[in-house]
Amino acid sequence: MPILRIRGLTHYFGGLRAVHDFHLDLEPGELVGIIGPNGAGKTTVFNLITGVYRPTEGEIFFNGHNLVGKRPDQIVSLGIARTFQTIRLFKELTVLDNVRIAHFARTRYGVMSAMFRLPQYVREEAEIRERALELLDLMGLLEQANWVASSLPYGLQRRLEIARALATEPRLLLLDEPAAGMNPGEIADLMELIQWIRRRFDLTILLIEHQMRVVMGICERIKVLDFGETIAEGTPAEIQSNPRVIEAYLGEEAIA
């Protein structure tokens, strides 16, 4: 029984067809990559899954829940978290607050409870504080907990973005070009980190990536998009030898 099931997903921006007839089944625990040239519709797929856009056509089921028409925060509460192509941290807030914000949906106390500091608020806040710091510790960010997010070095900002996503306790993690802007050393660390969080948090991961090294190195399956169409699908080895892929994608860009 797949954890994520997408059927016939199609999306138009005005007259422009960004995604056409996209299908995907993700089994629990899988690590699947989506690749394709710029403008192929990869990020749009993420935006459709997470409810930022409402698909023109098609259905998305996650653990039996229909996601179409749900708000992003509702979808996140169901267990899907994501990162962004360009880092979108809460730049002026501390590292700790960035992670604590991601506890929003699981917090039960109400406004009155907060304003009058009722026991429920005090207890839950203590829990959130501790859990957030523990997560930062796990991710190697504890020492920077009080830093303002924008003051972190680039690699750690990427890492914080992943930590923030993990704080929502997802079952499925969507990573949008996590290696963008990283040097080879950082990319090696990142690949190790992705593998590690997958085991540690028992995650299913869907990954968009331009760096062939990352995709070929860690993904079990790969889907290739071009102009919104799925042009190939298979294991890294199959994709590397697929002529259509080489023509549409690998032919243009150097393999890192």
Binding site: T50, V52, R71, P72, D73, V76, A81, R82, F84, R88, L89, F90, E92, L93, L96, D97, R100, I101, A102, H103, F104, A105, R106, Y109, V111, A114, M115, F116, R117, Y121, E125, I128, R129, E130, L133, E134, D137, L138, M139, G140, L142, A145, N146, P153, G155, L156, R159, R164, A165, T168, N183, G185, E186, A188, D189, E192, L193, W196, I197, R200
Partner: protein, 367 residues
């Protein structure tokens, strides 16, 4: 958090601070309550040693603190731009006044009016809070400039509606309120407001509010229910503006729709951006400095109305975050959020680290 520094006082302050810090926590925890009660007693006794004029100035300072702190929630913490705060103030002022002038006396409660005043204020605040929804719902769909226009339209509509209801005086205004607002009452409401707002700011909702300012879409994608947060923020801000309106009506004893025009809203904006965005301490500072400044400039007559707008423009160009933007006075931060407490918790977590089977790989090259 950076503390404001007053270097010339350092030789005096440092020994005091060190001595204070050496006191046991069981003693220190009572400092704030004792100070608050002490100030309350001073406020209660103030009519016997402060003249009427300065009492009034103090009252205006207090009312402006409430207005500024509540608007800061919207404009500072959430990063929206509301220009209609006076509209909510008007709702609170009229509702509270109608209660004390018409309703309570009609129920034969005239003798107890001083005791019922807080109830009138609360009802006024609730009515204003309810109208806060008028702005909250549009804010789901529009933000930035367009939401600013919505709040502005709201302000104009309130004024226009009040002008057209003849029963409450129409454009001539409403009067007959007793002078129920005193320094002590205002003090109590200011403490109450700042306390409640502080608690809100340092909660899930406060962090959600800040995250909307930083990046609304990212915020909803880390599970923040932005609608819930917006409703909370607009309703709470409107509630306190309503309280301020009620207090205002019962010191000035005469209100008319023009008292709550866009000019009043702009005054509050100046105080927010003068004191500093996302800072309750800044709101206290901004409201105090601006109110006292305008009083001191009274000899300038009409010219003093040029000061506020000019100040606003200069602030935006040279210090857009205000005096204390994004900083907070330490005593306004809840104890468990203060740096030393968080550091202690971090230490405990470090101590437990061994218990975990594994920690995320931290590459040496990720700098």
């Amino acid at each position: 958090m950076k503390r404001p520094s007053f270097s010339f006082l350092t030789p005096v302050l440092t020994p005091v601070r060190v001595a204070y810090a050496s006191l046991p926590f069981s003693v220190r925890r009572w400092t704030m309550p004792i100070l608050l009660v002490l100030f309350f007693v001073v406020a209660l006794l103030s009519p016997s040693f402060i003249n009427l004029y300065w009492q009034q100035v103090l009252i205006y300072v207090g009312i402006n603190i409430i207005l500024t702190a509540s608007l800061n929630l919207v404009n500072g913490y959430m990063g929206e731009f509301s220009v209609g705060h006076a509209g909510f103030m008007a709702v609170g002022a009229y509702v509270a006044s109608i209660l004390t002038v018409w309703v309570f006396p009609r129920w034969g409660l005239e003798a107890y009016i001083a005791y019922l005043f807080p109830i009138a204020l609360l009802v006024g605040g609730l009515a204003a809070g309810l109208t806060g929804l008028v702005i909250a719902f549009p804010s789901f769909r529009t933000r930035g400039d367009y939401l600013a226009i919505v709040t502005l339209a709201w302000n104009m509509i309130v004024k226009s509606v009040l002008e057209n209801i003849d029963a409450i005086g129409g454009p001539r205004g409403f009067m007959g309120m007793q002078k129920l607002t005193s320094v002590a009452w205002v003090y109590v409401w200011v403490v109450f407001t700042i306390y409640l707002l502080r608690n809100l700011v340092y909660s899930n909702f406060g962090r959600g509010t800040l995250s909307i300012r930083e990046d609304e879409i990212a915020s909803s994608l880390v599970s923040v229910d932005t609608r819930k947060v917006k409703i909370t923020v607009f309703v709470v801000a409107a509630f306190f503006a309503g309280i301020a309106g009620g207090l205002f009506a019962h010191i000035i004893q005469f209100i008319n729709p023009r008292s709550f025009s866009i000019l009043k809203s702009t005054d509050v904006l100046v105080m927010v951006y003068l004191g500093g965005i996302s800072s309750l301490g800044g709101s206290i500072l901004g409201a105090t400095v601006y109110t006292v400044l305008l009083e001191l400039l009274r000899p300038l007559q009409v010219w003093r109305w040029v000061v506020g707008p000019l100040l606003l423009v200069l602030l935006m160009i040279f210090r857009p975050r205000g005096i204390m933007g994004m900083q907070e006075w330490p005593f306004l931060i809840p104890r468990e959020e203060r740096a030393e407490r968080v550091a202690a918790l971090m230490e405990r977590i470090r101590g437990r680290r061994e218990a975990f089977a594994a920690t995320a790989p931290v590459g040496g090259s990720s700098d």
